[in-house]
């Protein structure tokens, strides 16, 4: 009985390592490419942000130029309403002795009224 033995000259080499060709570029090249792409993106974004800032400046100044005109119109309306309210209060309270017309605050600063004295509904002018 002959014992089972390796072939003469030994076994052939066993292929334990994968034999695949490396795909694409070197990994460091990918890293550099990504960095370059990000840098370009940030550069473009920065340009856009600077441009947005200038557009915002333009928008703000267009408004600043208009503010005095708009405010003057509102102020005239405020004065008109306040003078009308004063006259109305004087007329309503003419029979009350000791009534002090005008602001309820201890100041001559103009305070926009929260409550407005109105005539009764019968006297009210219907606009429609």
């Amino acid at each position: 009985m002959v014992q089972d033995l390796p072939p003469v000259g030994g076994y052939g080499p066993v292929q334990y390592r994968r034999n695949l060709p490396p795909r694409g570029f070197r990994p460091s090249h990918y890293l550099f490419a990504m960095g370059a792409l990000c840098a370009y993106g940030f550069w473009e974004a920065g340009k856009g942000i600077k441009e947005q800032r200038e557009l915002a400046r333009e928008k703000v100044w267009s408004r600043i130029h208009l503010i005095p005109m708009l405010q003057a119109e509102v102020d005239r309306d405020t004065v008109r309403r306040q003078l009308a309210a004063d006259a109305r209060e004087k007329e309503l309270m003419k029979d009350v002795p000791g009534w002090k017309n005008g602001s309820v605050y201890n100041s001559d600063r103009y305070v926009r009224p929260n409550y407005v004295v109105t005539p009764s509904q019968d006297n009210m002018k219907r606009t429609r």
Partner: protein
């Protein structure tokens, strides 16, 4: 509901129509809507700078009583703005109209209406000598309304 209140929309009947007393001089309001005002804003700012600053300074120095004490300055501001709008209407009506219609149609974004803004600026400068300058813009760069290339320019 337990309440039985009548729906009373009194903002319709409580409109105070009392005019200003005759001791205060009348002034015609500008009466322009937001589009034409935005379109003419830099020209208003150019011609009316002195009146505008006078009015705002008066308001600041009046100590909270500017509504009553700065009426005269306010009338000057309104007259000046009215004169600018009237002059633009007289000399550059078609360019002006094209620009504010473009603004109204483009959400009032100035950067979307550059191609109609340029003829307006040119016409207003030629006829009224009013220029559009943006204060505080970087001096070493082209002003934003004159640029022809950029991220937000030429895409609309």
């Amino acid at each position: 509901m337990a309440t039985s209140r009548e729906p009373n929309f009194n903002q319709e009947i409580l409109i105070d129509t009392t005019p200003l007393p005759p001791s205060i001089p009348k002034v015609q309001e500008v009466g322009a809507t937001s589009g034409p005002l935005l379109s003419a804003s830099f020209f208003i700012g150019d011609r009316c700078k002195a009146y505008n600053e006078d009015y705002m300074l008066c308001k600041q120095e009046a100590g909270g009583k500017g509504e009553f004490e700065c009426l005269k300055e306010g009338r000057r501001v309104t007259r000046c703005a009215t004169s600018v709008i009237a002059d633009i209407n007289k000399h550059c009506l078609s360019e002006f109209r094209a620009h504010w219609k473009c603004l109204d149609n483009n959400n009032q974004q100035l950067y979307k209406c550059r191609d109609v803004e340029r003829p307006l600026n040119e016409c207003v400068f030629n006829s009224l000598k009013l220029t559009k300058t943006i204060p505080g813009a970087p001096a070493d760069q082209t002003p934003i309304h004159l640029r022809t290339k950029g991220t937000y320019i030429g895409r609309y």
